[in-house]
Symmetry: C2
Subunit: 303 residues, 2 copies
């Protein structure tokens, strides 16, 4: 691939995505697999990457820069990329950590995650998206929310992540909807009014989450709460509780949402119920813009 300047990689616990990038931030090709960090031993990362990018780098005489963000830099990843401490810019020049490779056509650098000493917190991957969001919305000051398995709320000021907080909302939804007693009363489908009711209940009394959850089961048994409504209510309860307990993070500030479509839409809807109109940015756009920043700052291949 002649026009290839570098390769952008988003490498999480359960997924691997790669983009062949041109000179001007143009995406030439894209590939993905389920070879996430969670199922790879240290020596298996290079092979997993090559399975995606080999067609792009065939016949290259010199190493192609690869910039990767996410759990690939965890202690159990390809190589540990030590956390940078906030307050700091989400990505910064000269901080990529080189990963060991055998193939001379690859030069891999990993974006370090961020840590906060007190209260203790960590992120890996979201810092790339936050950097990208700042590139797409320059001079943004306020709160950034990244819904997901482990939702993040970050406070941004003058281009720096001042502080951040993680909530286990997404993982809790997955566990409760598939592994807990609540699964018996849940079904596919969606009920917007039930979601709104859950948000209202969760946000009004976030401290009652453990009893609100069981009420879903009780309403199923006593009042025949339909499965789709139960599922939407569970989602609303958790998101409502998250947003209410994150109030100090967004109160009086502009809010930017980064995430995949449907989940981000739910957060936007729940925030409106709290009187907040959030601007939403596409997660992939943010990831690519952030990786481009990381690549440009340290490898100098983008303009």
């Amino acid at each position: 691939m002649k026009e290839l300047h570098w390769i952008a990689v988003d490498w999480g616990t359960t997924h691997l995505r790669a983009w062949a990038m041109g000179a001007d931030g143009r995406v030439l090709a894209e590939a993905q697999s389920d070879e996430g960090m969670g199922r790879l031993a240290r020596e298996a990362f290079e092979g997993a990457l090559l399975r995606l990018v080999d067609p792009w780098i065939a016949g290259r005489p010199a190493p192609v820069p690869v910039v990767a963000g996410g759990m690939v830099g965890a202690r159990q990843g390809w190589v540990e990329a030590p956390y940078r401490a906030v307050p700091c810019p989400p990505v910064a020049p000269g901080t990529l950590v080189p990963a060991p490779v055998n193939d001379p056509r690859l030069a891999v650098g990993i974006v370090p995650g961020l840590m906060q000493a007190a209260p203790p917190d960590v992120m890996r991957g979201e810092e790339v998206q936050i950097a990208g969001a700042l590139a797409l919305a320059p001079d943004f000051d306020g709160a950034i929310c990244l819904p997901g398995t482990h939702s993040k709320w970050a406070q941004l000021s003058a281009g720096e992540v001042v502080s951040f907080q993680t909530q286990m909302t997404g993982e809790m939804f997955a566990l409760l909807s598939t592994q807990s007693v609540l699964r018996h009363g849940l079904a596919d489908g969606w009920d917007e009014a039930a979601f709104d009711g859950g948000v209202a209940e969760g946000a009004a009394r976030p401290e009652r989450l453990l009893s609100h959850l069981f009420r879903i089961r009780a309403e199923g048994l006593l009042q025949g709460l339909p499965g789709a409504a139960a599922r939407a209510r569970l989602s609303g309860l958790l998101i409502g509780a998250e947003i209410a307990s994150a109030r100090p993070w967004w109160l009086g500030l502009p809010v930017l949402l980064i995430g995949a479509g449907p989940l981000t839409a739910l957060y936007a809807r729940a925030l409106v119920a709290e009187g907040v109109t959030a601007r939403a940015l596409d997660a992939t756009d943010c990831t690519l813009a952030g990786l481009m920043l990381a690549a440009g700052a340290t490898i100098g291949v983008t303009e």
Copy 2:
């Protein structure tokens, strides 16, 4: 077994326990198995019971009364025993629901659970223990807490359950400690100071549960929080959040705890941190006393 007057049965989702009872509430024999309601089809209940009690009823000419409480009376159980609505006494005369049997030596009655219409809630099995607690502590008025997979808080007045609330604390601990990202940082063992710290944090800010939980992971990564301390902290966070959000249930009232040893001790310890000294009753004592009430009131075999 000549002295056998009746058989007491505690039949939950995952366990089955039976006691051979004499005339005066004396326990003549005891047996248990893991044939809980969760793994039995409707037609398999009688056989599971007989595997335990057959030696006791060998050669009996007339049916032996069997009184069973717990999930055995659920819709998916042996026979559905419809909920009784609070406010009401925890068990009442004439409410046992007969289960269909083929063996002429058995006459099985199932104790109905309790329901609350608003807010919707249900219990099955705990009503037996509450009845037993009232038998062991006559004239008790106040709050009864039953720690467990689904913790119950009940308000008792003049021998009636006035209202009750379920919290998913125990199931949440099980899910989080074995299925969530937190499992990576947990190990066997216990750390009392970490438990106390978790209780204090959880009780002070129960609305922040979703972020407090992730902090356990972050402290493991950043500060090397030992696995035993992480496990104790998780338990403390959940129990602290439960007790704080149940404050309207116990504030200014005497509190009675019913439960298995170690878990009840943790709740007692956490309640002391909130300024409450709870009296504790053994769960099995309460179960037997409650089943005896149910049996005596309706079958008339105890004196």
